[in-house]
C-alpha cells in the first residue's frame, strides 16, 4: 500500500450520524412535497405500545404491541404505498384521540378512516362495526346481517379478527350471541379491558 492509499484510508471526520434526526428532517420535507403516502408513529397506552399509521385520507392501521413492526410496515407498503415514513407528528390527531379515549374523555372518534387494507365482505362488516356506539355491544350475526349476509356470522368473526384498525373501528364491541365476550385479534385480555373501560362488559 502506498503512502497515498494510506492517507485515503483515513476519511474526513464528521459528527456521528443520527438516523432519527435525519428521518425527522426528511419526513418534514417529504410531507411538504406531498411524498409521504403513509406516516406512522407510536403511542404508549394502557394496552401497551400502539403503532398508528395514517394516510392523507385517514387512519389506515393501528397495531398492538406484539405485532412485529417490520411486518406491519411491510403490509402498509404492499397494501397502500411503499412511500412509508416514520413521521410521528403526522399521527398527532389520531394519537390525541386515542389518548383521550383511554383517559375516558373521548367517546366517539372523529378520525377519518382509510379503508385501503380492508377488502371484500370485511368492508361491510367493519363499516357496520364502526357504527356501534361507545358502551354498547352487538353480535357477530348482527354485523354479518348489516353486511348483507345474515348467516355469515363466522365470516364476520374472521373479518373482525383481522381488523387493521382496532379501537377506532371498535371490533371489541362485537360479541357472540351465545354469551361471553368472544375472541379478539389483540387477545381476549385487551378486549375485556376495552369493554370494561366502556362499562359494557357483559355480566
Amino acid at each position: 500500500m502506498t503512502e497515498l492509499e494510506r492517507r485515503l484510508a483515513r476519511p474526513p471526520a464528521s459528527a456521528p450520524f443520527d438516523v432519527r434526526a435525519a428521518t425527522t428532517v426528511l419526513a418534514q420535507r417529504a410531507t411538504e412535497a406531498g411524498l409521504v403516502d403513509v406516516a406512522y408513529g407510536s403511542l404508549d397506552s394502557p394496552l401497551g405500545k400502539l403503532i398508528v399509521a395514517v394516510t392523507p385520507r385517514g387512519v389506515v392501521r393501528i397495531a398492538y404491541e406484539g405485532e412485529v413492526e417490520e411486518s406491519v410496515l411491510r403490509e402498509l407498503a404492499e397494501g397502500v404505498s411503499p412511500r412509508v415514513l416514520r413521521a410521528p407528528e403526522r399521527t398527532d390527531a389520531a394519537r390525541r384521540e386515542l389518548e383521550g379515549y383511554f383517559a375516558g374523555t373521548v367517546r366517539r372518534f372523529d378520525l377519518p378512516v382509510d379503508w385501503s387494507l380492508v377488502h371484500g365482505f370485511a368492508v361491510g362488516v367493519l363499516k357496520a362495526t364502526a357504527r356501534v356506539p361507545f358502551g354498547r355491544v352487538a353480535t357477530y350475526g348482527e354485523m354479518a346481517a348489516s353486511a348483507g349476509s345474515p348467516r355469515a356470522a363466522r365470516a364476520a368473526g374472521n373479518a373482525l379478527h383481522v381488523n387493521p384498525i382496532p379501537i377506532v373501528v371498535p371490533c371489541h364491541r362485537i360479541v357472540p350471541a351465545s354469551g361471553g365476550i368472544g375472541g379478539y385479534g389483540g387477545g381476549e385480555d385487551r378486549k375485556r379491558f376495552l369493554l370494561d373501560l366502556e362499562g359494557a362488559l357483559p355480566a
Binding site: L4, E5, R7, L8, A9, R10, P11, P12, A13, S14, A15, F17, V19, A22, T23, V25, L26, R29, A30, A33, L35, V38, Y40, E70, L73, R74, L76, A77, E78, S81, P82, R83, V84, L85, R86
Partner: protein
C-alpha cells in the same frame, strides 16, 4: 413488484450513504446532500420496477447529488474569485494534509471519485464496488487506478 417500506431503506442505508457523502462532498454539505438523495429516491420509489438492487440505486442517486453539489461548489468558488485579492486565496498553512487530499478527491471526475470513496472509505473489493455502483469489476478497478494516478500527480506536484 413488492417494494419494502421506504423507511426500512432509510434505516438500513442512510448511515453508510452519509459516510459516502462526507467523503464525496465534505462534512459540511453531506447532510444536505443526503436529504436531497433520500427525497429524490422517495419521489421515484413507487415507479421502480426492480426492488432487488435498492442499495446500488441509492448510491447512484447519491453520486448524482454529490456531483451536483461539487459543481455548485466549483461555481461559487469561481464567483468568489472575482475581485478578490489573490493574497487571501492561498490555502491556510495549518490545514491538515488529509483535508487537502480529500478536497482533491472531491474534485475528481464523478466515476473516479465514487470508486475511490468505495475502495478506501468502505474498504470494498472491486467486485463489490462494481455491484454498488452499477458497473463491472474491471470498470471499478480502472476508475480507482485512474483516480489514484491523477491524485498522485496532483499531490506530488
Amino acid at each position: 413488484m413488492r417494494l419494502p417500506p421506504f423507511q426500512s431503506l432509510v434505516d438500513a442505508h442512510a448511515a453508510e450513504l452519509h459516510r459516502f457523502l462526507v467523503a464525496s462532498v465534505g462534512p459540511a454539505d453531506a447532510e444536505d446532500c443526503l436529504q436531497e438523495t433520500l427525497l429524490s429516491a422517495l419521489r421515484a420509489y413507487p415507479r421502480l420496477r426492480d426492488g432487488s438492487h435498492l442499495r446500488a440505486w441509492l448510491y447512484t442517486i447519491a453520486q448524482h447529488k454529490a456531483t451536483d453539489a461539487m459543481r455548485r461548489t466549483a461555481r461559487h468558488r469561481s464567483e468568489d474569485l472575482d475581485g478578490v485579492d489573490p493574497g487571501h486565496l492561498s490555502e491556510p498553512q495549518h490545514e491538515l494534509a488529509d483535508d487537502a487530499l480529500w478536497a482533491r478527491v472531491r474534485a475528481l471526475p464523478p466515476k473516479q471519485r465514487e470508486a475511490i470513496v468505495h475502495r478506501f472509505v468502505f474498504d470494498l473489493a472491486y467486485k463489490e464496488i462494481g455491484s454498488r455502483t452499477g458497473t463491472t469489476e474491471d470498470a471499478a478497478r480502472q476508475n480507482v487506478a485512474t483516480g489514484l494516478r491523477r491524485l498522485r500527480m496532483e499531490v506530488d506536484r
